[in-house]
């Protein structure tokens, strides 16, 4: 499974199976992606990929594509 596919599954787990995710998706595009859900999302991504975001990284992703790139970067490190 690619990072992008796995990331999409996490989104569906949290926001429901109907959610539409692309690299250009932002928080505004998904119902329920508020600041509380964002923390839950980051936690689930950490758990799913076995990575850790630093405290400064939580609010830095504009799009799902940017998020995906950071996950890939952390997995490669």
């Amino acid at each position: 499974m690619s990072v992008n596919e796995q990331l999409t599954l996490v989104f569906k787990d949290l926001f429901g199976p109907a959610v539409d995710v692309s690299v250009r998706t932002t928080a505004k595009d998904i119902d329920g992606w508020d600041s509380v859900a964002h923390i839950n999302l980051m936690f689930m991504i950490e758990e799913s990929f076995g990575i850790e975001f630093a405290e400064g990284e939580f609010e830095t992703f504009e799009t799902v594509g940017a998020l995906c790139a950071v996950v890939e970067q952390k997995l490669a490190a």
């Binding site: 429901g16 936690f43 758990e47 939580f58």
Partner: protein, 663 residues
């Protein structure tokens, strides 16, 4: 019965899970469900239950979906699965399906209370409750309680949860007047809780303070009454006292945090990023225990534990191996069953009813239960004993009828996954605890089950446990015992002697084979030779079991004396190292005197054969009053004791009980 668990091969769960996952990904929901159904309950994690729930939602089976979500709650290890489960729950609810009876829960606290509140709603499903949550705006705890006509009061909660955190405590790192600060702090919080109860009329469930262990004083902090850590601990203790007997119940979060480890309980990162005082990963545990106390506060408590016998409370199938073949108390597996039995007995002492539900001949099952010397549970612990060959779900119904309690207050434990599945399918009201594959995990499985939680401990519960309480009181005497004599006295040791027999010969052989320290001759007799002693009338061969106030040590001593002219010659005498240094050897010597006299001998002979390990018993015979009569090669010393002249050896600190089984 063990056979069925062996049927489930190693690869079966992995395979079923892989096939299920493939179908799941491709949206073949029914096929996925069929595949998941083959996964044994011991491998059925929260993640799998979430997938089952999702399949059910897709297939438009909302009731089954809710049942699957309820099972997610039984696995607290995976907070991500809990978050997915909440998302599914909200979609089912959003479709207008009724999820249970409404319970209105307000949660007050000074940290981010989501996902805790979402998890409370999820745990509600496990209880058949539709938990509706109210939380005031962030940080509005005191305002909500002190002002009039607040959102809290308008919400009309059934239960108010006060979620505290270490940082709420206004204590300095050190104070020269800790007592005053502690009293102030505890009274402030207890007062807040009481006020909440007053203004809302609701039950109040309060988290005590999970305390961070970081302190600049290090280990010294625990010795300094004025350190913040010591004061905070005192606040927790005082808070409990202040609220006892009121409408306020306490969730012992500091205990939970200790159990999971404070390193996992707290996360400075999540505190700084999102003001979560409790790590997201452990919030399932916090939610589960909060709801367990909520359930207790509204009387939703399980009353009766129903246990299987074979391979559940003892090792082995009594119908196959006989009473003497059962494993309890001795060896690692035996100790596991004993640990489990001890915990069950402790639950009984607290007021939980115990019922037995076993596929067995009743007479044999009862005899094993009553007579096996390793049994810790006693017939008097059991409220209802059912052993026959009927299906278990029928017997469980019988138990509920005989005890006149609802099926929904029963909890069933059985090592056999097939029996567990049968009961789950036929009696959905009955809770079934999944036992792990090995008995060393049984005690933990029972102890982690949260739904026996009660709101109070009444004198009626206590009456049953008077014995245990007296014992606990004597335990404190042990700490303060001024002399060695007082210490021995306080142990209340009871020895039980039995001649070699089928029930003890294996453990005896094991001790003969491995005991090094307390072993006067270190003769490694074979099983055949030991059996020879058992049948030889001219030989005295017995074992000793030892119990004391704190523990049942099991079979810990073996002694063999053979006829040698006019004397009984001690061929083998050994004791397990766990009972050394408490005068128990005198009890064995006293028993030998008694047995020797019974067969008409008054002269005892013993030899000390030194090895590199048994120096401990070099002076054993001297200490007991034997006379040194011979010095042989290799440091071997011969000893004699004349019963006629010196009288029998006495044992002041160990009382002797008749062997209950010595056929």
């Amino acid at each position: 019965m063990a056979a069925a668990s062996a049927v489930v091969g190693m690869s079966a769960p992995i395979e079923a899970s892989t096939v299920g996952d493939d179908c799941f990904r491709e949206g073949r929901w029914s096929e996925a469900l069929d595949a998941f159904a083959a996964i044994p309950d011991t491998s059925f994690t929260a993640a799998v239950w979430v997938k089952v729930a999702r399949c059910r939602v897709e297939l438009d089976h909302p009731a089954e979906a809710l049942r699957a979500l309820a099972r997610v709650v039984d696995d607290v290890q995976n907070a991500s699965s809990w978050l997915s489960a909440v998302s599914l729950l909200d979609s089912i609810r959003g479709d207008g399906h009724r999820v249970g009876q409404t319970l209105r829960v307000a949660v007050l606290g000074t940290y981010t209370l989501s996902p805790l509140t979402d998890f409370l709603r999820l745990v509600g499903i496990r209880l058949g409750l539709d938990v509706q949550v109210y939380t005031p705006a962030f940080g509005q705890l005191h305002q909500e309680v002190l002002a009039e006509d607040t959102g809290l009061i308008r919400f009309q909660p059934d239960v108010v949860v006060i979620a505290t955190r270490d940082g709420d405590l206004t204590l300095p790192e050190y104070s020269g007047e800790p007592e005053r600060l502690v009293v102030n702090e505890a009274e402030q919080w207890a007062g807040l809780a009481r006020r909440v109860a007053d203004v809302t009329g609701a039950r109040v469930v309060m988290h005590n303070f999970a305390l961070k262990s970081e302190t600049p004083f290090g280990n010294l902090a625990s010795q300094l009454p004025g350190s913040r850590l010591s004061m905070a601990r005192s606040v927790n203790a005082r808070l409990t006292k202040e609220t006892l007997g009121s409408e306020v119940l306490v969730v012992d979060c500091d205990r939970l945090a200790g159990e999971l480890g404070k390193q996992s309980w707290f996360s400075d990162k999540y505190w700084t990023v999102s003001k979560h005082a409790v790590s997201l990963g452990v919030q399932p545990t916090l939610a589960l225990h909060t709801m367990a106390v909520v359930a207790a506060s509204i009387g939703m408590t399980k009353k009766c534990l129903v246990v299987d016998l074979d391979n559940t409370v003892w090792g082995g199938v009594v119908g196959e191996v006989g009473i003497e073949g059962l494993v309890i108390g001795d060896g690692p597996a035996g100790e596991s069953y004993l640990l489990f039995q001890e915990y069950i007995a402790a639950m009984v002492g607290r007021g939980v009813l115990l019922a037995v539900c076993s596929k067995n001949d009743e007479d044999l099952a009862r005899r094993a239960f009553e007579n096996h010397p390793g049994m810790h549970l006693q017939m008097t612990d059991v409220s209802c004993f059912v052993a026959n060959w009927k299906p278990k779900h029928e017997n469980i119904k019988t138990i509920a009828e005989r005890l006149d309690i609802g099926l929904d207050s029963l909890v069933f434990m059985d090592d056999n996954p097939a029996e567990r599945e049968l009961v789950r399918q036929t009696l959905p009201e009955v809770d079934v605890i999944t036992l792990p594959d090995h008995p060393s995990g049984y005690r933990k499985a029972l102890a982690s089950y949260p739904w026996f939680e009660v709101a109070a401990y009444t004198p009626e519960d206590a009456r049953r446990t008077e014995l245990y309480r007296t014992r606990a009181e004597t335990a404190t005497q042990l700490e303060s015992a001024a002399t060695l004599e007082a210490f021995y006295e306080s142990l209340e040791m009871v020895a039980e002697f039995a001649p070699f027999n089928e029930m003890n010969i294996e453990r005896s052989a094991q001790l003969v084979g491995k005991t090094n320290q307390f072993n006067v001759t270190t003769r490694r007799h074979s099983m055949a030779v030991l059996r020879g002693f058992m049948e030889d009338e001219a030989t005295i061969a017995f074992v000793m079991r030892l119990k004391d106030r704190l523990a049942d040590h099991g079979l810990v001593g073996v002694l063999v004396a053979v006829r040698d002219g006019d004397a009984m010659n001690i061929d083998t005498w050994l004791m397990s190292c766990r009972v050394i240094g408490r005068t128990v050897e005198r009890a064995m010597a006293a028993h030998l005197c008694q047995e020797a006299e019974r067969v008409g001998f008054t002269l005892l002979r013993g030899r000390y054969v030194p090895t590199s390990r048994n120096h401990l018993v070099a002076n054993l015979y001297d200490d007991l009053g034997f006379r040194r009569v011979a010095e042989e090669e290799d440091g071997i010393v011969g000893w004699e004791y004349n019963l006629g002249k010196d009288g029998p050896i006495t044992t002041p600190y160990v009382s002797v009980e008749d062997a209950s089984v010595s056929q």
